[in-house]
Symmetry: C2
Subunit: 215 residues, 2 copies
């Protein structure tokens, strides 16, 4: 069976995966770019933007797991656009004409709209659906490949709470955000369902991997 | 100037340093011993209990920093005894006749009582005082040596919020506790005052050290 994977979900020491006050100008709220500094420094990220350079070590090894074997993505409304994007019929995501997904992407929203076909193989579909319903649609579209759960934290939490995630990669950044959206709330004893490894890298980030132990 | 140091403060992934429902039978509430498994496995802990064996690697290196150079400890009421110990005139702490401190220990409580001299150099003093007042008393007693801030999390948080901590060692354990007392609350941007390092060890624990960058 195809797996459900989460990659490169960055959180602060106090467990916030995004800051407070998200907007068009501040996609991660008051967190700014602080949660993703390690990621944008990697070779993987540079190559996505057709740039050369970037680090090639452990951070890059984790970052680059984003794409291989993925046939579809599920994301929350909060990842697709700033608060209120549902009122803008022309909003097509943050990523320009050629988004870095290159697969079908299922956007969970209570206000679905017609699908949008972008360049490079990305098609955005909009679903008002439960996690398991959305997963069924995404699995079908993935055609035997894995489904990436792209975030944000609320959606990841919902899928974790229902036991639908096979592999979770969290990058813990040494900052204290103080406020925002927490990843771990409502997930008491999550560790019982996963084999967990931790590794810290020279950038100061600690990569945590959760691999489901019952599947 | 003597430093204020915190050692071996264990927290869960979601930042809880103790569980919910603390009592005489459950000093850490529903967390049980899960936060301290790495610590009791160390040679340092074994030796404290006059036992042989225990691990001698990275976890032990961190654990053993508890004692050298310390001349006094400050602890919160919640570390000294279970809820309600103030009503028991015979309560002398969890640690038996020869507690593992071997220095003056200042217990912060709104209901002070006369000092208690124990075996092995530990004397418990009881103070109704602010963090800075308590620190002044402890520094005097430490006689040029460092002051250990022994916990629990509420007291550590209070001292961190007032900028009184020079060195903080946190051991992050890969469990999700879900409830209890959080360490990081109210400490937004704490990282700006510290150089932070992270290292994960084979036991699965990630040791975080915060070293004040302005002193």
């Amino acid at each position: 069976m195809s797996q459900v994977r989460v990659h490169n979900l960055s959180i602060s020491l106090d467990g916030f995966a995004t800051g407070e006050g998200q907007s068009l100008a501040a996609p991660f709220g008051h967190a700014g770019e602080r949660l993703h500094g390690w990621y944008v420094e990697t070779r993987f990220f540079h190559e996505m933007g057709n740039q050369t350079g970037g680090s090639g070590g452990a951070d890059n090894a984790f970052a680059a797991r984003h794409n291989p074997g993925i046939g579809a993505e599920i994301m929350g409304a909060g990842k697709f656009g700033p608060p209120g994007w549902q009122d803008d019929p022309d909003w097509k995501g943050w990523w320009g004409p050629n988004p870095p997904f290159h697969t079908p992407v299922f956007v969970l929203t209570h206000r679905p709209r017609p699908s949008i076909e972008m360049e490079g193989g990305t098609t955005f579909h909009f679903l008002d659906a439960s996690p398991s319903e959305a997963l069924e649609r995404a699995r079908e579209a993935a055609n035997g490949q894995d489904v990436r759960l792209g975030g944000g934290p609320t959606v990841v939490r919902d899928f974790l709470a229902e036991g639908l995630v096979d592999h979770l990669h969290v990058a813990q950044v040494p900052i204290v955000l103080g406020r925002g959206v927490r990843l771990w709330d409502g997930l008491e004893s999550l560790e019982q369902s996963y084999d967990i490894e931790a590794v810290s890298t020279p950038s100061g980030v600690t990569h945590l991997t959760f691999t489901a132990n019952t599947r």
